[in-house]
């Protein structure tokens, strides 16, 4: 069965800490992996990863994919309270783009 598993499910850190969120997957015909940030409402797109070992970076956020070990990590350095959110990992299942989501990691950054 195709699946996406995220860990940890929740995480509480203090401002300034660095966090690593994990996403493992088992999806046939893998093409890409996406990270989204979900605050109160819409999941907002962060990264799309297609190639192993190539880091994608946006400010304090970065992500990398390992297609051999079937996982991805999302790193956030120097966390801020505004980083508090649920981080979702998703993998497109087929040519039509249907996304399979992980359970999400709920990150809480305390001042």
């Amino acid at each position: 069965e195709d699946k996406v598993v995220q860990s940890p499910l929740s995480l509480v850190v203090h401002e300034g800490d660095t966090v690593t969120l994990n996403c493992s997957y088992e999806v046939t015909n893998f093409r890409s992996l996406l990270w989204y940030k979900q605050e109160k409402k819409a999941p907002t797109f962060l990264f799309m990863l297609t190639s192993s070992g190539i880091e994608k970076k946006s400010g304090r956020l970065s992500s990398i994919l390992d297609k051999k070990e079937l996982f991805s990590i999302l790193n956030i350095t120097a966390t801020q309270t505004g980083d508090s959110a649920i981080y979702l990992c998703a993998v497109p299942y087929n040519q039509g783009g249907k996304l399979i989501f992980g359970q999400g990691t709920e990150l809480s950054v305390k001042p």
Binding site: A42, P43, Q95, L99
Partner: protein
């Protein structure tokens, strides 16, 4: 930046009633999706729509569900006879190419009483 917009933001309906959830995808996008998220659970795929027809649907998307793109801008999800277990957040998403990131609306929270 263009956005996917969904209305209403919250819908409360009696069990057995019909509901229509509305979405306006980003204007040049060609692929449209509905997902739902029951409180505390994963986001689940419901249906994908391309070229004016359903391209894939999940087991959840039974005969009580239908989708339509009536006028080239709106994309609607209809639930004919709602059940308590249909209570969830429903997200619409769109993309211009199926292998590109999907952009999500803010969702409609559907509460069935």
């Amino acid at each position: 930046e263009p956005e996917v917009t969904q209305t209403p933001s919250h819908q409360v309906t009696q069990m057995g009633q019909e509901v229509i959830l509305r979405c306006v995808p980003i204007s040049n996008h060609l692929y449209f999706y509905w997902y739902r998220q029951i409180l505390g659970q994963k986001v689940e795929f419901l249906v994908s729509f391309y070229n004016n027809e359903i391209s894939e649907k999940s087991e959840i998307f039974d005969d009580q569900f239908s989708v339509e793109r009536p006028d080239g801008s709106n994309f609607t999800l209809k639930i004919r006879s709602t059940k308590l277990e249909d209570s969830a957040m429903y997200f619409c998403a769109s993309t211009w190419e199926s292998n590109q990131p999907q952009h999500f609306g803010d969702g409609t929270r559907l509460s069935i009483l």
